[in-house]
């Protein structure tokens, strides 16, 4: 017996170090994480930290900056263009997000009806989300053209206007124009994800409400909305984050003009850092966005916790 047993144990011992390492979850887990972690640390975590640092230096493109503490922020606090960009960003985010939510929810409810060609309609509705933003923004740029705007043409033909609207030349017109383009792009995302949420609501709830004689409005108010609220929180967090940090639409349609009326914090930081060469100042403007983003995430996170708690969930 002992003669047979010996080679087996020897074999186990010989292969042990290497094989055992590969059987250990922790070692193997670490190995599997290497590609993702390497990329994310080098190009995400490190730049994030570097961004904080750059915001406190006077770095110019092609030069080495020196540490100047909070001086960038002090000078920004006296900079009227910066405050205008903060105002524009909030304006843009608030109005675009509210309308995106309203139309998106309405569209989701419509798509949840019994419809012919349902999956085809769903596919078509999602198109503005799939097509590259800059390319569709070019279409909006042309739609808003001061001399050849199709909107103006239709309104004049309909007898509602007497002359062409200067969509992008007037500050308030330009603000509403970019908000409209953002709504156009964001509605599909909100609608399709809320539709998914609607489909998880059990029909038996509605049947029970029907038996109790609930009206359409009551069913919406007391079943649909509460059941949908966790997904609403997730979708709106994403929607607000994407809108707040938007760059593409503004850069394509107005470049921040006219007279900075549509500059968002992102486009202003690009202008100062890359076009103007003041990397440090641009980074400081980017960093100023972070508190707003953290607030948005925390708000929806705690909102979600609270709604779960109200529904009696534990987790």
């Amino acid at each position: 017996m002992a003669v047979i047993a010996e080679p087996v144990t020897a074999q186990v011992k010989r292969s042990s170090l290497w094989t055992r390492a590969f059987e250990s979850r922790n070692f193997l887990g670490a190995m599997f994480m290497v590609p993702a972690i390497a990329i994310l640390v080098l190009f995400l975590a490190y730049p994030l930290a570097l961004g904080f640092w750059l915001g406190m230096t006077d770095t110019k493109i092609g030069g080495v900056g020196r540490f100047i503490g909070f001086q960038n922020f002090v000078s920004l606090s006296k900079d009227s263009v910066f405050w205008l960009s903060v105002f524009n960003t909030i304006f843009y985010t608030v109005f675009a997000s509210i309308v995106k939510f309203a139309i998106g929810l309405y569209l989701a409810l419509l798509l949840n009806e019994r419809l012919p060609f349902k999956s085809m309609i769903r596919a078509i509705v999602l198109l503005p989300f799939v097509v590259p933003t800059v390319l569709s923004a070019i279409a909006f740029w042309w739609i808003y053209d001061s001399q050849f705007s199709i909107i103006s043409w239709v309104l004049i033909k309909a007898g509602l206007l007497t002359h062409y609207i200067d969509f992008l030349g007037d500050p308030w017109n330009a603000r509403w124009s970019v908000v409209l383009a953002n709504i156009w792009r964001g509605v599909p995302f909100v609608a399709i994800t809320l539709l998914a949420g609607l489909q998880t609501i059990s029909p038996s709830l509605y049947e029970a409400a029907n038996l109790d004689g609930a009206t359409n409005m009551q069913r919406f108010r007391h079943i649909t909305l509460p059941m949908l609220s966790p997904i609403i929180a997730v979708v709106m967090t994403f929607s607000v984050l994407m809108t707040f940090t938007d760059f593409q639409l503004i850069y394509t349609i107005t470049r921040g003009g006219p007279i900075n009326a549509t500059h968002l914090m992102a486009t202003l930081s690009f202008q100062r850092a890359i076009t103007g060469g003041n990397l440090g100042e641009g980074a400081a403007i980017s960093n100023a966005m972070i508190p707003f983003l953290v607030a948005a995430i925390l708000l929806s996170f705690f909102g979600l916790q609270r709604s779960r708690w109200q529904q009696g969930g534990r987790d």
């Binding site: 590969f22 979850r25 193997l28 887990g29 599997f32 994480m33 590609p35 993702a36 990329i39 994310l40 190009f43 995400l44 730049p47 570097l50 961004g51 750059l54 009806e113 019994r114 309609i121 769903r122 596919a123 078509i124 509705v125 999602l126 198109l127 503005p128 799939v130 800059v134 390319l135 569709s136 070019i138 279409a139 740029w141 042309w142 739609i143 199709i150 156009w184 509605v187 994800t193 998914a196 949420g197 489909q199 998880t200 509605y206 049947e207 029907n210 997904i231 997730v234 994407m242 940090t245 938007d246 760059f247 992102a266 690009f270 890359i274 990397l279 641009g282 980017s286 966005m289 972070i290």
Partner: protein, 291 residues
Amino acid sequence: MTTVDDQSVGMDYLESFPKKFLRVYLPLGLIIFFLLFPFYWMAVTTFKPDAEMYDYEKYNPFLIAHPTLEHIKKLFFDTDYPLWMWNTVIVSVSSTFISLFASVCAAYAIERLRYKGSRYVGLAIFLGYLVPPSILFIPLAAIVFQLGLFDGNLALILTYPTFLIPFCTWLLMGYFRTIPYELEECALIDGATRLQILVKITLPLSLPGVISAGIFAFTLSWNEFIYALTFISSSENKTIPVGAITELVNGDVYHWGALMAAALTGSVPVVILYSFFVEYYVSAMTGAVKE
């Protein structure tokens, strides 16, 4: 995934057609018109000769009297557009593959190996998705410059995974969770290594998830703008979105025909890919949020 054909509620069938038309079809039609109009306008402008484009008195702007390919011809032969298209393909395909490889490994490790601390690493990767590119592009520009990657495809191929990996990992974690753990246990008992299990069992079973992650990654990189605008300077290295709005505008002269042609032809590859895999796309998008 819930694919429900009939979610109509209660006594829906009692509703008369005119009533349903007003309540459902009409508003739905209006919203779809609003969502599709810019594409229609893009297409009409692309195939319209300049004479018609700038004359609303003589021609109805909604129609094309004499369709032409001159704008597309100008775009393909008089500009660097073919190069932009090529760069966009190279960058999108490469960064998609890098991200898929890294994400499959990471998601498998977090979800299936469950090593010490995997929950926290998973959470950290998810948080990475919430860091927007418009905060990262300035420090990244400095890093790209230092690494000598400025003005080349590699700068984009290496930076795009920063927003692709968090998303793909998150999506794949959800898919891996749906595969019964018993399958892996059986294979482990039969003496398969973890790598064999991943390649021969988990990956084939989660192919729909891998495909949807791939399509998402591809369309997201095709759509990316701010990094490409910042890290690339010469015309022949640009991607379609950047090339279109920086090279097709000469001072105050906008070549609207060529711009629209670029917008249209630049959208087509993504739309074709999307239409082939639309079910994956929709279910992944909605599934990721439901989690």
